[in-house]
């Protein structure tokens, strides 16, 4: 009975990992003896030994190896066993004398298992000749010559399978490579014409489960000469010394797991030979040889195949490395170029996108985005900024690592389906908490050929009442269409992205340091400037006062002794000094605007206006000015400065009046981000060409005889507006009145400045 639908809910891991090595059974084509060193007493035997050696099991268990072999052989074996490595003894031909005076010859293999127990495996020698080594050598040499000529990995693999098949004469030889997720793919195949091809098929991970892979790592070559044969028990089942079943993990004769045998049966395999291909301690792949009928392969030939496999695989490995290496070198070059561009450009983001090669080339992506300080810089095919915003938020919540990559974003982030044609694949590196570099790859609809439905690789058989996994029976081509998936990100690309991340982090850190340094320098020089302005204007006052005072004293004391000219001249001196004093006062006021720092608070603009009007009261009454205003809002500003702003603008409106009484209106309107205030009058107006000039310090459009003043008023206004992160400008035509506008951000200035009073306190230390 099949219960496929329930498969998902079952814990497959426990079923996938049967304890293979504790099965004390061997294949019937050889016999196994467990020996006790040093006397080589026989502790356990495989049950088929009795027949092969023509001695009863009971007798065998009472003897030692010495009783089976002649003293010459025993001496040699004992000498070799004393050595560290058993490589020199394996394989050894031994001959055992039977009761009827004839000998049987075995290929003997010694090994010690994980518990240090000596195990001897005997396989009847098929031929007494060695394998024709020379013919094998020629084959191998011819193959290697071919290899050197062939260009790509595919051809390499093909040559290997052909050579192995020629040497072993199996019906089918396949070269099988494991992918990162564990499933295998047939890269090359050589077979009988009549057989169905497995070339290009993928096999699910469960076909060769993890424990089996571990075995392949320790047993580089594995033969099952007859998949139909009954396994042979070891007797006694428990080792008399350890009192446990004997560990046969390194045994060549060890029986395959029944599930595997079943799998082979379902595939129609009568005999199999498997050669492990190991790369950096990992199982890279297998050479799998299948025969439709039982087939024995002698130890020497097996060894020869293993050798061939290793040698040729060494070539594959190199070739694979070279292909990798070339790509890696290319990426290293691109990476170096990007780092150069980044350091050349003032803004590193420009460096990543404005040159060739650019950010896209680093990972062979079709699109990339740099999200920095809330701004997006896009290159190539990318999702919309809105979509990126959500994606980045998702990344912030879900990714803590230095790098994140997937070739199927929609699998974890379902919204990605909306932009699958652009970004089914995502590679992301966070820079700090909120900044990201993202690369995108589009969906590639792929067809993966499976040797049978991978989701039904195992069926659960419930016949006998208990659950048992059975391998599937069908190995026919099963096509799977993979959607919402991009080409995978290669390891080298991921490494390159990580390297780039390091470089960006360095640059950002350096820039932040430079910025901090710059800010500190600026703050210092600003503070010094303010101090200078204050001290200069203050110290300038004293001699001026002196001049003023003494000239006045002269006038007072000698009024009668001076003539009219003298009085006029004294008048000019007094006037000049007084103007100078006003100028200094205004410079001081100008430097004070930010010297005291802006103290943001939620204040009533209406109150500030009232105060300003109060200060101007005398001039308003004198000129008969009519002042109206809108209802003014509450704003985030410095109340004193806002008051000064109104006072200066309204004061100007009164000052630059025509002969008509001034009419002044203060208005306000709001946009999304800011308040816009206006002060409009019916005065003399300003020629538009002067509309910038009037805000510059000391710039005046009139002589002092026409309109008194220092030319500081509007400069102070501008400083206040800018200090609030707002702006100020004028709209006017000569003779048609003027409207001054200034803006104040609704939210105030984002970053509260450090209070200027601290700087000011240094002034007290002045000597």
């Amino acid at each position: 009975m099949l219960i496929d639908s329930k498969l998902d809910s079952l814990d497959l891991t426990s079923l996938k990992e049967p304890v293979i090595n504790l099965r004390s059974q061997i294949q019937h084509h050889g016999i196994l003896l467990v020996l006790q060193e040093p006397e080589l007493k026989i502790l356990q035997v495989s049950r088929n030994a009795a027949l092969a050696l023509d001695i009863s099991i009971e007798n065998l268990l009472e003897t030692s190896l010495e009783d089976l072999l002649d003293p010459y052989q025993i001496g040699r074996i004992q000498a070799r066993l004393a050595e560290d490595s058993l490589d020199f003894i394996n394989p050894t031909k031994i001959w055992v004398k039977k009761r009827r005076e004839d000998y049987i010859v075995f290929d003997a293999l010694f090994h010690r298992n994980s518990e240090g127990i000596l195990i001897l495996e005997l396989e009847p020698a098929i031929s007494e000749d060695n394998i024709p080594f020379l013919s094998f050598y020629h084959l191998a040499k011819a193959s290697i010559n071919q290899l050197q000529e062939s260009a790509n990995l595919q051809d390499y693999c093909q040559i290997i399978v052909e050579t192995v098949r020629k040497v072993t004469e199996f019906d089918r030889v396949m070269l099988y490579k494991f992918n990162e997720d564990g499933h295998g793919c047939v890269l090359a195949e050589d077979k009988l014409e009549s057989m169905e091809s497995y070339l290009g098929l993928n096999f699910p991970e469960s076909d060769i489960p993890k424990p089996a892979r571990k075995m392949f790592l320790s047993n580089l070559i594995r033969l099952i000469p007859d998949t139909q044969s009954e396994p042979v028990e070891i007797f006694p089942p428990l080792n008399p010394i350890t009192e446990r079943p004997i560990d046969l993990i390194n045994s060549t004769l060890r029986s395959p797991f029944p599930c595997h045998v079943e799998y082979l049966h379902n595939m129609g395999v009568g005999a199999s030979l498997t050669i492990s291909l190991i790369k950096e301690g990992r199982l890279w792949g297998l050479i799998a040889c299948h025969h439709q009928t039982p087939k024995f392969v002698s130890y020497e030939l097996r060894k020869a195949c293993e050798f061939l496999g290793r040698m040729i695989f060494g070539e594959i490995y190199t070739r694979e490395e070279t292909e990798d290496y070339n790509y890696r070198m290319k990426l290293t070059y691109i990476q170096t170029a990007l780092v150069d561009y980044m350091s050349q450009e003032e803004n590193f983001i420009r460096g990543l996108i404005k040159h060739q090669p650019n950010l896209l080339d680093l990972t062979s992506a079709q699109g990339a985005a740099i999200c920095f300080s809330g701004n997006y810089t896009l290159i190539g095919e990318t999702p919309k900024q809105e979509e990126l915003n959500f994606l980045v938020t998702w990344l912030q919540k879900n990714v803590d690592e230095e790098i994140f990559y997937t070739n199927s974003l929609a699998e974890m982030y379902p919204d990605a389906e909306n932009f699958k044609n652009i970004a089914s694949g995502l590679l992301a590196i966070p820079i700090g908490k909120r900044n990201y570099v993202l690369w995108f790859r589009p969906e590639v609809i792929q067809t993966v050929n499976w040797g049978g439905n991978p989701n039904k690789a195992f069926e659960i058989n419930q016949d006998s009442g208990d659950l048992r996994l059975c391998p599937r029976k069908s190995f026919e081509l099963w096509k799977e269409t993979v959607r919402l998936t991009s080409l995978p990100w290669e390891e080298v690309e991921i490494k390159a992205a990580l390297e780039l991340r390091k470089a960006i982090v360095n640059i950002v850190l350096r820039q932040a340091e430079e910025l901090a340094q710059l800010a500190a320098d600026l703050e210092r020089s600003n503070a010094e400037l303010k101090k200078f302005a204050y001290v200069a204007s203050h110290d300038l006052q004293e001699p001026l006062n002196q001049v003023a005072n003494y000239v006045q004293l002269l006038e007072m004391r000698y009024q009668n002794a001076l003539d009219e000219d003298a009085s006029e001249f004294i008048g000019y001196v007094v006037g000049g000094v007084s103007l100078m004093q006003t100028l200094i006062d205004d410079v001081l006021a100008y430097s004070k605007v930010d010297m005291q720092g802006i103290e943001f608070a939620s204040i009533s603009a209406e109150a500030a206006l009232e105060k300003a009007l109060n200060n101007l009261r005398r001039r308003i009454t004198q000129t008969g000015a009519k002042i109206t205003h809108d209802e003014l809002p509450t704003v985030m500003a410095d109340s004193t400065q806002l008051m000064q702003l109104f006072q200066n603008l309204i004061g100007n409106a009164i000052k630059f009046r025509t002969e008509k009484p001034p009419e002044i209106h203060i208005g306000v309107s709001r946009s999304e981000d800011e308040w816009m205030f206006s002060v409009s009058d019916n005065g003399i107006g300003i020629e538009p060409r002067f509309s910038d000039r009037i805000f510059v310090i000391f710039q005046r459009l009139h002589t002092r005889d026409e309109y008194p003043g220092t030319g500081m008023g509007l400069a102070i206004c501008k400083k206040i507006a800018l200090g609030h992160r707002g702006n100020i400008w004028v709209e006017s035509q000569l003779g048609e009145g003027a409207t001054f506008y200034f803006t104040i951000p609704v939210k105030g200035r984002e970053r509260e400045r450090r209070n200027g009073r601290k700087t000011q306190n240094h002034l007290f230390g002045r000597r």
Partner: protein, 149 residues
Amino acid sequence: MSVETEEKRKIIFLVEDNKADVRLIQEALKNSSLPHEVMTVRDGIEAMAFLRREGEYSSAPRPDLILLDLNLPKKDGREVLAEIKTDSKLKRIPVIVLTTSHNEDDIFHSYDLHVNCYITKSRNISQLFKIVQRIEDFWLETVTLPSEQ
């Protein structure tokens, strides 16, 4: 006794580094009807030596009023003020800061140090004269101060 006291000339102690300003204040005081003597030093160190009768000032009189400028060489007017106001023998002498500075911090700080009053020098001479006259009237005639040994 009381007659003697009335006839005793008041000592006005002026601490001012600028000769011109010294002269100007002296000019302003010339018009006064009150018998007085203006004694002047030009820096903060000398001011303290005078008040504490140290060195050449061992026989210096105790002033009835101190007019103090803030910006002085060697020892700042602010330090002089602080020293006077923490010295139990000197702290009851009225101290008037007379300065060109109208910096708010200076004003706050001076009053924190218990100045008796803070006056900004006027740029207009007749006003300045008026101010000095008023100081004299107020602090030397109107006000009752504790009698000191």
